[in-house]
Symmetry: C2
Subunit: 105 residues, 2 copies
Amino acid sequence: MTSNQPLFRALADPTRRDILLMLRGTDMTIAQVADNFDMTRAAVKKHLTVLSDGGLITVRTQGRERYNTLNPSAFAPIRDWLGFFDAFWDDRLSDLKSAIEKDTK
Amino acid sequence: MTSNQPLFRALADPTRRDILLMLRGTDMTIAQVADNFDMTRAAVKKHLTVLSDGGLITVRTQGRERYNTLNPSAFAPIRDWLGFFDAFWDDRLSDLKSAIEKDTK
DNA sequence: TTGACGTGATACCATTTGGTATCATATCAA
DNA sequence: TTGATATGATACCAAATGGTATCACGTCAA
């Protein structure tokens, strides 16, 4: 089973989550992303590396620029993981349902 | 708007994610949770505090024991946040659809 | 060719994080 | 009461993390 630790880790930082929202619909260079934050380009670049490690973005080189693109399909493992708790939730619901049915008998 | 940083942060650690899975269906004391990991009770207790800060578990005191209970509804903000990217994904799909329709004319 | 520009890479720093060890406190049971 | 048990709380430590500053390198434009 593949480790999704890099994915969860990438989502743990608010700056990185903002970058992801920012990349919806538009690819951006490192400098463009950095313009939206009050920190150095180097710091933003580090965040982009973490996002890339988590598979959440892909990078395309074009001349001397590097365009960062959102990869929405990378969220799938998170949805899968959340599903483990849906099952539990359903169990509790069916328990409740049984209890109610037994009660109305 | 409420910050969901404590929630995302709580999910960033693999031990904590394991604890959550472990708590599906059964409430457990701190000692019981700690028995399942190769670390001290104090370390596990710290993780439980972070999970509690994220709203992912609730704690019920019973005598000298403290039972930790999973709170599945705490995942809702994460699903909501993921939804922001569903919209983007749908846009890309409809773009693709339009392109195909235009092409088959 | 020559700068200016966009980026990569490295060293460095302060803070946070995950962990241990240790002691104090409250509760259960004999 | 007395001792074992379950937990709380604190101090401490190493490593990871988020940030800066700085320099090197490839690329574009004049």
